[in-house]
Symmetry: C2
Subunit: 343 residues, 2 copies
């Protein structure tokens, strides 16, 4: 049996935390994986030095995961074609706007039996339909693509704080391989078959977190917040089952990618924080984005808008009162208090 | 159609908050309920005055829910027989140790078609079996008994902060009545058929909260805590389905009594707090109970012990690693860190 050749596409905060795990596990499971893990690293100069050279000599991504030692068998490579050549297992962990371009470059360079997994958060939602990043990867590269998501703040994972994560994978043999590649004593993997639900949760949770932030900002107590989280979880599930049918399983929402990630996102996180500030100060959302996120666009409000347009195109927005209310507060100046009155 | 006669048995913090809701709703739904709500109040002297007289003149329970106005149609009665005479709907909201004695006194005084609902948290768990308080009420009074539980901190409910609650009721016609009696714009009732799961959640959540407190005390992040909450929810469900079979439904754990109450209990609450203090200080649990709870016994640690004895009697303790680990940390001096290593 030939060994699986692993490559990681991406090297940000989350990509680096995952590289630490993957590099350890290819050593632990040497009967399954080649020892070397190739990581595509977008080249940057750090104090005049190439980031790839720093990673390959100091075994630390000084820019995106400072202070965390990477296994020496993780090899940083600035050229994506070289990084992925002949790979049988490909871990995608790039910002979503780079997926397409990177896949186009990789086309024709993977092993014929290659399989991929997407750690990219979210999915594309337009008025006419949805598109998962796993689908994009499958479409461009013609290989099956699983998904991994969970209550996983990268820095906590890198510091080996106990947590769980969910792999959604239609092929259970591949699922076992992904389990071996990612599971550790502090990062526990559950494999389920529902790769759609896994990705859906990672996107829709951010809308709920904005709503939970409104509740915090209004000074409502933990009863109210728990009710918003619960109703959010129910709308996430309803959305999945209404538009993807049986592919999205009820059990998925009990997994780390479901309820656990939602809890984490609604207790810390930037979406919750901006929601709270909005309720407290009444400042426009774009001003708060500038003040609190250096002008970066907030994921939860964007997703609320995309989901609203998708739903209203089908005249179904009233079936999702929490999603609708977050949208109306952010984009139609509905009073913040409607977060409890209208859901 | 004759009107339902409502009586409330109990007048503590939660009983008073519920009296406010029930007293309002018998007025709103005057086609279903007699206006007057009789409330059994355990007589106490407050500055020389009877608590019942204060409630009946000032319409405020100055001892247990200060500052909240009760509807004037809630009538406090110090004699439990007089309070319940001829009642058709009985709301039990007394501390659990009083259930039996109070039911014995009430025997023979209710209307023949009376139905009850239990707002009493928890259930009795002994090595040989479990007993729900709804079962006790049914057994002694020979009337059907539903259950209500949810993410409901009494003071927040009394101040009309938005939240939800779950009614578990096998008879759906009765379920509709309970809905009319409790549902308001700020206290939203979902009726389900699973009265067992509703009560189970209210007891088992406290074990999970102690574990979440350990995680907080050890300085673990929100990933870890979310994982503990999630695994706790799964063990609550497994316990229900293993020992009560189909009576306990998966959907129950998505309700307010399930996931929402668990989230609230693991974010605030005394069980979490004492767990946190234990991990931080290493002081014995009984010392912390004295310091933080005036020597009152902590529910979560008691339940952990009862559940452990119930499970080990059946050699099933290893099927519930989180419950087992909380027990071992509290009663067998297992290291606090095992809360993540052993679950």
């Amino acid at each position: 049996m030939s060994l699986e050749k692993v490559c990681i596409i991406g090297s940000g905060n989350w990509g680096s935390a995952i590289a630490k795990i993957v590099g350890t596990n290819t050593q632990v499971h040497s009967q399954k994986f080649e020892r070397t893990v190739r990581q595509w690293v977008f080249q940057e100069k750090i104090d005049g030095q190439n980031l790839t050279d720093i990673i390959n000599t100091q075994h630390e991504n000084v820019k995106y995961l400072k202070g965390v030692q990477l296994p020496e068998n993780v090899v940083a490579i600035p050229d994506v074609v070289e990084a992925c050549k002949g790979a049988t297992l490909v871990v995608f962990v790039v910002p979503h706007q780079f997926v397409r371009g990177v896949c186009e470059q990789m086309k024709g360079h993977l092993a014929p039996n290659a399989r991929a997994i997407s750690l990219i958060k979210g999915l594309e939602i337009t008025p006419t339909g949805t598109r998962l990043f796993s689908e994009e990867i499958e479409r461009i590269l013609s290989i099956p693509c699983a998904a991994l998501s969970g209550a996983n703040i990268a820095d906590e994972v890198a510091r080996e704080k106990f947590c769980e994560s969910t792999v959604g994978c239609q092929n259970l043999n591949d699922g076992k391989l992904w389990h071996s590649l990612f599971d550790t004593s502090y990062f526990r993997i559950n494999v389920i078959e529902d790769h759609v639900g896994v990705q859906l949760c990672g996107a829709l949770k951010n809308i709920v977190a904005v709503g939970a932030g409104f509740s915090d900002g209004l000074g409502y107590g933990s009863n109210t917040k728990a009710a918003i989280i619960r109703r959010g979880l129910m709308e996430m599930r309803k959305f999945g089952q209404m538009f993807f049918g049986d592919m999205v399983q009820t059990e998925t929402f009990f997994e780390s990618c479901g309820v656990a990630d939602l809890i984490t996102t609604c207790s810390g996180g930037r979406n919750r924080k901006v929601g709270e500030a909005y309720a407290k100060t009444g400042k426009p959302m774009d001003v708060l984005e500038k003040e609190l996120l250096n002008g970066q666009k907030l994921q939860g409000t964007l997703t609320a808008q995309e989901v609203y347009e998708f739903l209203s195109h089908r005249k179904l927005e009233n079936e999702f009162p929490l999603f609708l209310t977050v949208y109306r507060i952010v984009y139609e100046n509905a009073p913040v208090g409607s977060i409890v009155r209208d859901i």
